[in-house]
């Protein structure tokens, strides 16, 4: 195993071993979260809209929101982990100083945070999928299997973006901006609960700039089986990968400057 993989794994494992001791509470919240959403939307929105049409196909509302919730819970969990949780480790627990005194380097450290955040988020995503399946909101198919690596890419992307927030943060208050101007818009404007074409055009521009919109679109296409062109897949996934790389680069540069200056 290369030193890089070995070191990132060691850092990942540190987070995993603290999480293990909280497994049951984590499982409970990850299952109840989508249950509460389904309950509320099933009775609320579902009573108003029974189905939604995409490209002339009618999709039952429940099947429409399960992929949205998959993307949302992945986005929220990974964003939270590399922002507030990682910042607590960096700022309050001197965890970063501790690690950087060993042969581990800043790249390892950030990859450790990001890969762990994505792992934890994937756990949440899979909980949503199980809940969705149990309540007939998700039909199993080979396409659905593809959502797993794609969700992983998405979670890595949001984790890297959370890391950018952490690299700028000087106190916990800063994260209220991160949630208000980044996480919440991705909840509202990215088509999690209804199609973005209901927004005025300038809002759609904003929507399309958010990586979440493309993730939701791809995951939904795979889950409910509507068609996206190959080009659309390449463009959407490429955009997510691009944002990931960009965020990682910005977070790395900021952190480097901040820690070693």
């Amino acid at each position: 195993m290369s030193i890089f993989v070995k070191t990132v794994y060691a850092l990942w494992y540190r987070h995993f071993s603290t999480w293990k001791s909280m497994f049951w509470s984590s499982l409970t919240s990850n299952v109840f979260n989508p249950l509460l959403f389904l309950f509320s939307f099933g009775f609320g929105m579902g009573a108003l809209v029974e189905s939604i049409s995409i490209d002339a196909a009618e999709i039952v509302y429940l099947a429409y929101i399960v992929p949205g919730m998959m993307a949302y819970s992945g986005m929220f969990t990974s964003s939270f982990e590399t922002s507030i949780s990682a910042f607590a480790r960096y700022y309050m627990q001197s965890y970063w100083d501790q690690v950087l005194a060993t042969p581990a380097k800043l790249h390892h450290l950030i990859w450790g945070e990001v890969s762990w955040a994505a792992t934890k988020a994937m756990f949440a995503v899979i909980c949503v999928m199980v809940v969705g399946y149990v309540f007939n909101g998700l039909e199993l198919s080979w396409n659905v299997l593809w959502t797993i690596p794609i969700m992983l890419l998405g979670c890595l992307c949001f984790a890297a973006c959370g890391m950018v927030a952490t690299s700028f943060a000087t106190s916990f208050e800063i994260f209220s901006y991160f949630f208000t101007f980044w996480v919440t818009p991705m909840f509202i404007f990215s088509g999690v609960f209804f199609p973005i074409d209901r927004f005025p055009e300038y809002v759609q521009w904003l929507s399309n700039a958010l990586p979440m919109t493309h993730l939701v679109d791809v995951i939904r296409a795979l889950c409910v089986g509507y068609e996206l062109t190959a080009l659309a897949y390449v463009y959407k996934l490429g955009y997510i990968a691009f944002i990931t790389a960009l965020a990682y680069g910005v977070a790395y540069r900021n952190m480097k400057k901040r820690i070693f200056d």
Partner: protein, 296 residues
């Protein structure tokens, strides 16, 4: 070969110069003490050695390698005991050692072996499953030292290893550090406890305000700056003594006289002087060099 060679190293934080050109060496197999009051720049110097803080100017070599080129192979040979307790609060005592060891890329079986022997060495075996929040200050410190030793480093940096501990806890740590010395490890220690420096260090570098004031073995420093004996004489000073050319320092209410031959002062004290005589020690050197004023 010197493990550390620092030449004119400097560090500024914005306009503020924390380290203003420091030279010192840490020869292999010795214990060097960096002694200075709070804010002298000791921690900053250690952080520069560890590569946790970039140099503003100067040259710093670690195992002969310029500090900005220091890589994995050098880092494997250094253990750091930081000033603040940065143990992992989410992990147990044993996990704090084993998981830290994994950051070095060491084999699992080797880490386990090391953790066993270090828990024993630092007398923490009984606490191995406790969360670190439940440890006393002395135990935390011992665990941090054990953690620094996990990869069996040749060179150990200790930033105020015993500050804030009770005497028993300090003695226990000193004993383990002396054992490390016996094993031939190189140590760099910061402290503001003179007894600690005198006991452990072969060579002492006294720093203040980001500069080196003097350096040498404890003995050399004492005989150079404060002779063998100190007389602390209360004011008013007897006229004969005041007129004499004996090396002295006014510290407010009283004056300190430094002499090799005690009789020289005794003859000048007269009948009514209030004074205290004692053998001089490193503390006198330190106070003489860094001044008697209170620090931050």
């Amino acid at each position: 070969m010197a493990v550390i060679e620092a030449q004119n190293i400097q560090k500024s934080f914005g306009e503020f110069k924390a380290v203003k050109g420091v030279d010192f060496q840490v020869p292999e197999g010795t214990c060097v003490g960096l002694l200075g009051p709070n804010g002298a720049g000791k921690t900053t110097t250690m952080r520069m050695i560890m590569g946790l803080s970039a140099l503003t100017a100067g040259s710093l070599k670690v195992f002969g390698v310029p500090v900005d080129k220091v890589g994995r192979s050098e880092k494997m040979r250094i253990g750091l005991v930081p000033q603040e307790d940065n143990l992992d609060p989410d992990l147990s005592v044993r996990q704090n050692l084993e998981i830290y060891g994994s950051y070095f890329g060491l084999e699992k079986s080797y880490i386990k072996e090391r953790a066993d022997s270090l828990l024993d060495f630092m007398q923490l075996s009984e606490k191995e499953d406790n969360r670190v929040n439940h440890l006393s200050g002395g135990m935390k410190r011992r665990l941090i030292i054990a953690r620094a030793l996990i990869a069996d480093p040749e060179f150990v940096i200790l930033d105020e290893p015993t500050t804030g501990l009770d005497p028993q806890a300090r003695v226990l740590i000193w004993k383990s550090l002396l054992k490390l010395k016996e094993q031939g490890k190189t140590l760099l220690l910061t402290t503001h406890y003179m007894d600690e420096a005198q006991r452990l260090c072969d060579n002492i570098v006294i720093v203040d305000g980001g500069k080196v004031l003097d350096e040498g073995s404890p003995k050399e420093l004492i005989s150079k700056h404060v002779k063998n004996n100190v007389f602390e004489v209360q004011k008013p000073i007897p006229a004969d003594l005041e007129k004499s050319d004996i090396d002295h320092e006014d510290i407010g209410d009283s004056v300190l006289y430094y002499v090799n031959d005690p009789e020289k002062v005794q003859g000048l004290l007269g009948k009514n002087a209030t004074y205290m005589q004692r053998v001089s020690n490193l503390e006198d050197v330190f106070l003489r060099l860094t001044g008697h004023k209170l620090r931050e």
